[in-house]
Amino acid sequence: MGALLSVEGLCFGYRKKQVLHEISFRVEKGAICGLLGPNASGKSTLLKCINGVLSTHRGEIRVAGKSIGGMSRQEVARLMAVVPQQMTLAFGFTALQMVVMGKAAMLGRLSLPSGKDRSDAQGALDELGVGALANRTFNELSGGERQLVLLARAIFQDTSILLLDEPTSHLDFRNQFMIMDLVREMTRTKGLTTLVSLHDPNLAARYCDQLVVLKEGRLHREGPLDKVFERETISELYGMEVVLHRPKGGPVAVFPLHGTTVL
């Protein structure tokens, strides 16, 4: 297995403020890579640079060795699908209409989604267990249901790379695991390569194969989960004392030691 997605020397900034400094890492084919970091560490910005929504100042993004630098929006959208952060729509699109939009990357400019596209989109909703929501208005759905619809849309986009921007924020305890379970299942069954930014290091420890850790716009650490997920790294990252608990056979879990004591 080689790296499917590689980021080399990526720099990005807004006007005067440099946000990302020389970020380089590789995501192995078939892996779930977690993007960890405190608020404002540049996680969302990095994801936007990778999918080309923000144009990087320096550095290169490669998919299977090919630079996406000169690609059109549509070509990039055939390689990677994005599950955005919690969104609310200005219009009353239904869940099914939302999923069908995943087809945009494949369509000719003068074509419309066909009846088959619609039934395939319904299939994507069914696969995630939310087929019954197809004709409900997206804005009426709960946070968890919306994330599932967006995940279905990304699956329907039929790419090899899946990018998720904090898919669990705004979700209740149960729904966080439900979404991540499905992300893992989809990654495995569809042979995807997934990069997911997460707030909660415990979710990263539970679901990710490898980690990219950002701090203040710089790459703090990166590598396989068991190498990177250490007490010192997490403590430094969030600026608080933590302990790791490794139950037999279960994923490692992290707890704050003295509340939120700042080091």
Binding site: A77, R78, T88, F91, M101
Partner: protein
């Protein structure tokens, strides 16, 4: 579109019925039988005799161009409203609110002021200034928070500027030569439509609406927001340019044909959305039909109501404003508008 067959069939029947009514009604009354005879004699090429001469003239030279232009202008204003709403993912905008209409009116007035009554100059200038107005509105809105509210407010600013420009030109205009023509624009009316102008306006609007119709589905992902649309594979800046260009073109053609008619572009897309939903696949053609019916009905009322013809812009505001008030008040219940 297939899911809404009934709505489309009903709308097409309504359009046909309102066209027939509009052809019959007016100060010169033509009954259904005469209408049929005139149409038949035109189709078969036979001379209908002396009794059909006057109704034939009224129908072909006066009412038919007016009916066609009213339908197409209604469709153009409504569709461009739907396009702008999707493009700026903002259900509160319309060509009027974004300043396109006042920009185009300013352009038309400026052309009358400087070039007299050349329709080509009026159309060109209306288009150019409409485009300038929407660009300024968009830029101010983007630099002041890029929200629903900031875009609407920036449209208010731009509209006020161009309306002031129109007033200034009126003030400076020759009261005998140019002023009457300028006043006509600001009211909005179909009563001076003749075939020569009608054909040009119909051709521009038909081309514009055809382009929007062909690209209609792409407004769905664009209406989700720039970033999301880009991740779905859409070249948003390029798409935006095309839609703004076409939307402004059909509005400018409408404004130069019949002046400033408000509320249609704001209200009709909402009515259409309530009936066929948000998917632009069905929304765009249905908005066009509904806009045609709405405008034609308003124009028929404007000239058939007792007490002499009133400017159709007055009527569209009388119906449009209360309907929009109703939409505002029931907005929460229908899912709400987001900032």
């Amino acid at each position: 579109m297939k899911d809404h067959k009934l709505a489309f069939v009903v709308a097409i029947i309504l359009l046909a019925v309102s066209s027939a009514i509009s052809l019959i009604l007016g100060r010169y009354w033509i009954d259904i039988g005469t209408l049929r005879d005139v149409v038949l004699s035109a189709i078969t090429g036979q001379d209908g005799g002396q009794s059909l001469a006057t109704p034939g003239l009224v129908l072909w030279s006066v009412r038919l161009p007016r009916v066609l232009v009213a339908i197409m202008v209604g469709a153009a204003l409504s569709v461009s409203g739907a396009v702008f709403q999707g493009l700026f993912r903002n259900p509160l905008v319309s060509p009027g609110i974004l300043g396109v209409t006042s920009g185009a009116s300013f352009g038309a007035t400026l052309a009358i002021f400087t070039a007299g009554n050349s329709l080509l100059a009026i159309e060109g200038s209306a288009f150019l200034w409409g485009l300038i107005a929407v660009t300024i509105t968009y830029q101010i809105g983007r630099r002041s928070g890029n929200s629903v509210t900031s875009l609407v407010l920036s449209g208010v600013i731009v509209s006020a500027l161009f309306t002031a420009g129109v007033s200034f030109l009126k003030f400076k205009a020759d009261p005998y030569q140019h002023l009457p023509a300028m006043v006509f624009w600001s009211m909005g009316s179909f009563n001076s439509i003749v075939w020569g102008d009608a054909v040009r306006v119909l051709v521009i609007i038909t081309i514009g609406l055809t382009v929007v119709y062909l690209f209609r589905w792409w407004l769905n992902p664009i209406a989700l927001g720039d970033e999301d649309a880009m991740t779905l594979g859409i070249d948003v800046p390029k798409a935006r340019l095309i839609y703004i260009f076409i939307g402004t073109l059909v509005v400018a053609a409408s404004v130069s044909a019949c002046g400033n008619i408000g509320w249609v572009g704001l209200v009709v897309p909402h009515m259409a959305r309530i009936i066929v939903g948000a998917d632009h696949d069905a929304l765009i053609p249905f908005t066009a039909l509904l806009g045609g019916i709405f405008m034609l009905t308003m124009d028929t009322l404007a000239r058939a109501l007792p007490g002499g013809e009133i400017p159709v812009g007055v009527l569209t505001a009388l119906i449009g404003a209360p309907f929009f008030a109703y939409l505002l008040m029931t907005n929460e219940r229908r899912g709400g508008w987001q900032n």
